[in-house]
Every structure is written in structure tokens, then in C-alpha cells.
């Protein structure tokens, strides 16, 4: 990706052939440069998928081991918020893809608008995620040993929101008071939330990185740096953003829709 930056210092090696403005010194042609960037970003996305893979394995393994726990704990996630976030991200995929098209056609203004929209979606996503997270911290549906605190609490101390959730459906479709659950079972709930927080947290970090990337692209787009012969960076940034979306598309059903 780094080679596509505009300050490619052409010249200095005097081979006589004229070097296009956006061509870095070590490439022969613009096609070679663009092709390298493309292969580079795809390879990078592959490493990203593998980066998440361990967590997906953890999810599969522990869900296979404790299916009831996962079903039960999943009820504590807010499906509506998750669904809204899915739509937000899907929409942002559209805008970023549109932006790539704008860059190719040299439509500077539309490019800026689309990048801005994508950024807004990313911000919205993080906002909603923040609401979800703070809700969980409030309720104490947390990872590992920390999950216990809510279930250990005296009923008199339980807040209103927590009371709302102090009952849930168990795997057999019966309504169970959380406090009546088997202690081992209660503890395993923490495992679900560990997987939940790791997956969504890592994804959230990727959204943040994406936002930095989009801001950088936006700043450059405002300087009209992109055009029909120079849209690599937008294209590659867009691909990264699609991957971030794609991962969420998997996370949503796996985490929110299992009860």
C-alpha cells in the first residue's frame, strides 16, 4: 500500500524513459504498480482473516463443548442493536464501493461525499457498540470470572435493568431464574462473553483502524489527489473496509442469533 503514495520520487536514476507522475521509482509501469498494490492488499486481507481465525476456532470449540451455555448467554445480547449495526455497515460498504468508482471517474466531490458517508457509518457503528458495551459493563455480563458478580449479587441489590434480565430461557425452553442456575453453568457464561468481547473488540479495533485510513483517504481526496490514473489507494482502502464489514456479517449471526 505504501508505494502508492503520491510523493513517489521519480527520477534520480536517469534511464531516459519518462516517468509518469504517480509512478514510484522502482516500478516500470503504472500497471505493474497497481497490480503490485492489488496483490499486496489481497495478501494482507488473507493475513487478516487468519488473524481472526483463532477466535473463530475458539468460538466453534467452546460452542460445541457448551452449546446450552452459548444459547443461554446469547440472550443477553441486544439483537436489535446488532441488526442496526449490520445495516449500517452494509450501507457503508456501498458508499465505499461507490467512492472507488468516483475516484476512477475523477468525480472529486462525490468521492469526498462517499468517503464522508462511510466514515459517518463507521462512527455510528462504534457509537452503537459503545452503547452495547456500556450496557454489559453495567449489567456485569462480562468475561471470565468477572461474569459472576451479577449472579452472585443479593436480589435486593439488583438494579432494575438487571432484574429485567435476571430470568432467561434455558436450552429446554423453560424460564429459569439466573440465580437458580447451576454454579458451573453460571461460570461458563463468562466463556461466552470472553469470546464475545474478544471477537467484537478485535473487530472494533479494525473499525477504528479503518476510520483512520478513511480519514487519511478523505484528506487526500480533498486535495484532489485521486483520478483515473491514480486511484489505487482508494481501491485498496475500500477492500480493507469490505473485509471489516464481512467479518461483522459473520459475527452477527454467530453471536446474536443463536438462541
Amino acid at each position: 500500500m505504501s508505494s502508492t503514495t503520491a510523493d513517489a520520487h521519480a527520477g534520480g536514476h536517469g534511464h531516459g524513459h519518462d516517468h509518469p507522475k504517480h509512478l514510484a521509482h522502482h516500478f516500470e509501469t503504472l500497471e505493474q504498480q497497481y497490480g503490485s498494490g492489488k496483490l499486496g492488499i489481497w495478501t494482507f486481507l488473507l493475513t487478516e482473516v487468519l488473524f481472526f481465525s483463532a477466535l473463530f476456532v475458539a468460538y466453534t470449540m467452546y460452542r460445541a463443548q457448551y452449546p446450552e451455555v452459548f444459547q443461554f448467554a446469547s440472550q443477553y445480547l441486544d439483537t436489535n442493536l446488532g441488526a442496526i449495526n449490520t445495516i449500517v455497515l452494509l450501507f457503508s460498504s456501498l458508499t465505499v464501493a461507490w467512492g472507488v468508482r468516483n475516484a476512477m471517474l475523477g468525480q472529486h466531490k462525490m468521492l469526498c461525499i462517499n468517503l464522508l458517508l462511510t466514515l459517518a457509518c463507521a462512527g455510528g457503528f462504534m457509537g452503537i457498540k459503545y452503547v452495547e458495551y456500556s450496557h454489559k459493563f453495567h449489567e456485569g455480563t462480562l468475561w471470565g470470572g468477572h461474569v459472576d458478580s451479577i449472579f452472585k449479587a443479593d436480589p435486593a441489590d439488583i438494579s432494575e435493568t438487571m432484574k429485567e434480565h435476571s430470568h432467561a430461557w434455558n436450552g429446554d425452553g423453560e424460564l429459569v431464574a439466573v440465580k437458580d442456575l447451576d454454579p458451573v453453568f453460571r461460570q461458563r457464561l463468562g466463556l461466552f462473553f470472553a469470546v464475545y468481547f474478544c471477537l467484537t473488540g478485535l473487530h472494533g479495533i479494525h473499525v477504528l483502524i479503518g476510520m483512520i485510513l478513511l480519514t487519511w483517504l478523505l484528506l487526500r481526496a480533498m486535495k484532489k489527489e485521486f483520478g483515473p490514473d491514480h486511484f489505487g489507494a482508494i481501491d485498496f482502502g475500500g477492500l480493507y473496509w469490505h473485509l471489516v464489514d464481512l467479518i461483522w456479517i459473520f459475527l452477527f449471526p454467530l453471536l446474536y442469533l443463536i438462541s
Binding site: S2, H26, Q32, L39, L50, V195
Partner: protein, 581 residues
């Protein structure tokens, strides 16, 4: 007399710009390669210091077994942990790909640089950050988990140095990923038009296969270490059995990376070997395609054998049987390479230069290292050998005896290209001899001790255990090895200043990096397009006495490298017996 193709007095990549920042902030792959090389050497000295500390502790009589204090034992645990972690993450993994690879790969391709020069610089800076994080552990505590960082110990009662060390390994992982990514794209996209895949020098095939492992395996260790970090700092429970998690899960993730990682270490060494054997046998490499393909085969197989590190971890017996069988299959492509190298020497005119001697000794060392791997891959025998010095000896034969010797051999091979000077023939060979003897003396006894049950990672054994003689010879051997390696380093540093000036092609290699002046200009080549043919057609160059090196048989009119020599009537005598037909 200075060879005409030596550019030390002219402008070259070493003297084109000056000052600290012109190196530290460079995007020139050659300078980055050199900086990697010296950084790796520095890390090696650090790791070597701890190795000697281990050996000194284990010298019979050095520490009284019965009255050892807790501090002494902690210091020992620290020594083997830092030694292992530094040697693996900071030395062997970046050694050949990042140091030699950076220097050589673009030149072998006739290119001006790697595909992403800035990313390349970023990789190097990540390496530095990783190294700083590792050294940071010295100041805040006693890192003592072993290089494997297994939970529950690493996430439990040990101190917080683990946090720094895993962060360091995490950062180094990304350094390695970006290097691999860069090479993959470079090899795909920057080859000259007429260099087809099967006209690539085998070093490129090896680097390519290595890069595939780097990008596929390293992200997994990245996430595993991250999980270990959150486990340690926030007890999330994924690896904690008390919370329903599974510590063996970490072992799976760890070895899913770390077994392929052993091929990140050895494959580039094998690539260097292929170059050495072809050039110094003055014969086309035997079995080009099978060597190229076996690199890829090794890369692929390496992903499906990790369970052989976990035969005794409680994994199911069926899994163990499958992993054992798969592990045997890795030996096949490795052996193919060895046979091909030997066949290359057969009826060649072998030149016993220093790099070649390293190459030839690796056949012996890798033979032992690889074959003992099969002992370990066998379920029944591994029950006896697991966690003993047998394993320690096995992996030192492959990592030091093969990967490190390959690195040193590669440095000697490309050294003239790097600094424009030749290292001394006699002293480099003496250094090799000392290292070779010292190395074998250190590790052969460990096979014997290990097979008799001597466990690894113990701070002392006591005379009654009966391992004293093994430890004694190991320590003596380690000292000889240290002297040998120090000498090898000394020959290099001496030659940098005093060595004979090198011609552009001292060894007679026909790959493209030998077709540029020595040291190369900033953008590698002074001429534009190359005729790329068979990378191992040794008839393309011939020895020239005045030059004390090799010159192309058909020099191009515009080749500045031989322009001065072209006037030489002797060289162009049409009747000369080597004249092109």
C-alpha cells in the same frame, strides 16, 4: 591491483549518501538488508551470552546441586527463556529472509527494489521495537516461562515480564508478515519479462515458499499472543481451565505457528544451499524442478504436522497417530533436496571456498538434525525423548547447524557484493573448522544424554544422576563454538576495512546479482534490461585471471561493468578456447 568491476572508489549504494538518517530512514533494500544483518548479529551476541550462561551453570561442579538457591534457579530459568526467545524471534526467523533476502532478492530479479520499499523499512523498525520490548524484560523482572509461553504458568503466577515479551513477539510477528508479503508481491510482480517461474534462481523459490508460511502462519501466533495478553491482564478465561477454558488450546495455536516457523528458519537456508552447490560445483543444479517444488511441498506440509509437539499433552491417540504419519511425510521433500545437492556435486568441479564448506557441512548437520526428527515423530520413541536433551540436540542441529550455518555461508557468499571486499580465505576456514567442531562437541553428547532420559530445562542434575560427562563436553564444546563464531565475525569486520578488493563476480555465479558492479549502485543496475536465461548455465561466465574473478562470456556493449575490460585483447581473443561457439 583493483579489479575493474570494483566500484569502491566510485559512487555506490554504500557511499551515495551519508549520515545516520540516510541509513536509519532509508528505503533502499540493500541498506535495510545490511542493517537487518548487523541487528541480527547483535541479537545473536545477546542470545549467545545467555547460552554461555546456561552452559556455565550446567558445567559439573559449577553450581552445587544440593545447595542451589531459589535465585540461582530463577536466573537459570531466565537464561534459557531469554536465550530461546531471542534466538528464535530476533535471530533465526529474520536472519536469512530479512537480511540476505532483502539484500539479494531484488537484485536476483533485476529489479530496483522490493515492491513496497516503505513497508520494508517499517518491518525493520518493527524489528527494533520488538527487540526493545524483549530487552525491556531485563529491567522489570525475571522472564522465566520458556520461549513457548505456555499457560497456565505464563498467565498465572509468573511476573509481568511475560506481557512485554509477548508484546515483543507480537510486534516481531508483524515485522515478519510484512517482509513475507513484500517478497510475495515482489516475486510475483517484479520479475523481468523473460524470467518465468522456472527460470527463477532457487533462492527465490525458497524465499517465496518461506513468505507463504510467513503470511499464513504468523497471524495465528499474533492472535494467540494477544489472547495470552488479555488472559494475563484481564483473566478472560479462554485458556484457564478454572473458567472452562483450555490451556492445551494455546498449545495448538502456538504450534500451528511454531512448527511452520521452523520452516521459516530452514527453507531460506536451503535456498542458500542450492545457490552454493550450483555455483561452486560449476554445474547446473541437479533436479531444479524438484528442488523448487519441494520448497512448496515443505511449506504446505508444515501446516499439518504441528501436533507432533503435543503427543504427550493429552491430545487424542487418533490425532497423535495421524500427526505422526503426516510428520514423516515432511521428511520426503527435505530429503529430495539433500539428494539433489549431493548429485549436483557429483562430477562437478567443486571449489572448496568458505561458503561452499559451510554448505557441505550443512549436509552432514542437517542430516543428523532431520533424521533425529523422525525419531521424535515416532510415537513410541517420543514418549522417551520428549522434553529431554534429545529434543534440544535435534532442534539445535536444524536451527544452528543448518539455518545458522546457512546464514553464515550466505553472508560469506554475498559479502563481496555487500562491501566490495573479500574475506580472508585461511581465517574464515579456520573459523568454520572451530565452529563445526565446537558445535558437534556441544550437541552430539546431548543426544546420548537425552536418550538416557536427561530432562531439559533443569537448573542442575547432581552427580548421582549420571549426566555429568555429557554436560562437561557440552560446555567445552560451547566454548569452542563461541571462539569459532567470534572468529568468523572477526574475519568479516577485518575484511570490511582491509580485505582484498572484490571483483563483481568472485565466485562465478550466473544469477543476476553478479551482473552488477561491486558494490552495486543505488538502483542496483547500470543497464536496463537483461537477457535472462537459465540461472544455472555456468557457461555464461568464465574466470579471468587479471580480474581475479569471473566475467561474462558475451559481455554487452553497454555493460559498464566490463566496459574497461573489454579493451583487454587477451580476453577477447577469438581463438581463446572458451570463446563462444
Amino acid at each position: 591491483m583493483t579489479p575493474s568491476t570494483n566500484t569502491l572508489e566510485r559512487t555506490n549504494y554504500l557511499n551515495a549518501t551519508k549520515g545516520f538518517m540516510s541509513w536509519f530512514w532509508t528505503i533502499d533494500h540493500k541498506r535495510l538488508g545490511l542493517m537487518y544483518m548487523w541487528s541480527v548479529v547483535a541479537a545473536f551476541i545477546l542470545g549467545g551470552f545467555f547460552a554461555l550462561k546456561i552452559r556455565m551453570t550446567l558445567m559439573p561442579g559449577a553450581v552445587d546441586f544440593a545447595s542451589q538457591t531459589a535465585e540461582q534457579m530463577n536466573a537459570y530459568n531466565n537464561a534459557f527463556t531469554v536465550h530461546g526467545a531471542v534466538m528464535i524471534f530476533l535471530v533465526i526467523i529474520p536472519s536469512i529472509p530479512a537480511a540476505l533476502g532483502n539484500f539479494v532478492v531484488p537484485m536476483m530479479l533485476g529489479a530496483k527494489d522490493v515492491a513496497f520499499p516503505r513497508l520494508n523499512r517499517f518491518s525493520y523498525h518493527l524489528w527494533i521495537i520488538g527487540a526493545l520490548l524483549f530487552t525491556g524484560t531485563f529491567f522489570i523482572g525475571n522472564l522465566d516461562t520458556g520461549w513457548t509461553f505456555y499457560p497456565p504458568y505464563s498467565t498465572g503466577s509468573t511476573d509481568n515480564t511475560v506481557i512485554l515479551a509477548t508484546l515483543g513477539a507480537f510486534v516481531l510477528g508483524f515485522s515478519s508478515i510484512f517482509t513475507g508479503l513484500n517478497f510475495i508481491v515482489t516475486i510475483h510482480k517484479m520479475r523481468p519479462a523473460n524470467m518465468t517461474w522456472f527460470r527463477m534462481p532457487l533462492f527465490l523459490w525458497a524465499i517465496y515458499a518461506t513468505a507463504v508460511i510467513q503470511i499464513l502462519a504468523t497471524p495465528v501466533i499474533g492472535i494467540s499472543l494477544l489472547l495470552l495478553l488479555v488472559e494475563k491482564t484481564m483473566s478472560i478465561g479462554i485458556f484457564n481451565p478454572e473458567l472452562g477454558g483450555d490451556p492445551v488450546f494455546f498449545q495448538h495455536l502456538f504450534w500451528f505457528y511454531s512448527h511452520p516457523a521452523v520452516y521459516i528458519m530452514i527453507l531460506p537456508g536451503m535456498g542458500v544451499m542450492s545457490e552454493l552447490f550450483a555455483t561452486f560445483s560449476r554445474k547446473p543444479i541437479f533436479g531444479y524442478k524438484s528442488i523448487a517444488m519441494s520448497s512448496l511441498a515443505i511449506a504446505l506440509f508444515s501446516f499439518i504436522v504441528w501436533g507432533h509437539h503435543m503427543f504427550l499433552s493429552g491430545q487424542s491417540q487418533l490425532m497423535s497417530v495421524i500427526f505422526s504419519a503426516l510428520t514423516f511425510s515432511v521428511a520426503v521433500p527435505s530429503a529430495i533436496k539433500v539428494f539433489n545437492w549431493i548429485a549436483t556435486m557429483y562430477k562437478g568441479s567443486v571449489a572448496f571456498t568458505t561458503p561452499m564448506i559451510y554448505g557441505m557441512s550443512i549436509i552432514w548437520l542437517f542430516g543428523i538434525g532431520g533424521l533425529t526428527g523422525l525419531f521424535l515423530a515416532t510415537l513410541g520413541t517420543d514418549v522417551q525423548f520428549h522434553d529431554t536433551y534429545f529434543v534440544v540436540a535435534h532442534f539445535h542441529y536444524v536451527m544452528v547447524g543448518s539455518a545458522l550455518f546457512g546464514f553464515i555461508g550466505g553472508i560469506y557468499y554475498w559479502w563481496p557484493k555487500m562491501y566490495g571486499r573479500m574475506a580472508d580465505n585461511f581465517w574464515t576456514k579456520l573459523a568454520w573448522f572451530m565452529s563445526f567442531i565446537g558445535f558437534n562437541l556441544t550437541f552430539l553428547p546431548q543426544f546420548v544424554g537425552g536418550s538416557r532420559g536427561m530432562p531439559r530445562r533443569y537448573a542442575g542434575y547432581g552427580t548421582e544422576a549420571g549426566y555429568d560427562s555429557f554436560n562437561y563436553w557440552s560446555t567445552i564444546g560451547a566454548m569452542i563454538l563461541a571462539v569459532g563464531l567470534t572468529m568468523a565475525l572477526g574475519t568479516l569486520i577485518y575484511s570490511m576495512f582491509r580485505g582484498r578488493k572484490a571483483p563483481s563476480n568472485p565466485w562465478g555465479g550466473v544469477t543476476l546479482e553478479w551482473q552488477t558492479p561491486t558494490p552495486p549502485p543505488e538502483h542496483n543496475f547500470e543497464i536496463d534490461a537483461f537477457p535472462v536465461g537459465d540461472p544455472y548455465d555456468m557457461n555464461l561466465c568464465e574466470y579471468n585471471g587479471e580480474e581475479e574473478g569471473f566475467l561474462p562470456v558475451n559481455p554487452r556493449a553497454d555493460d559498464p561493468c566490463v566496459a574497461d575490460v573489454a579493451i583487454d585483447p587477451v580476453y577477447f581473443e577469438p581463438e581463446s578456447e572458451n570463446a563462444p561457439a
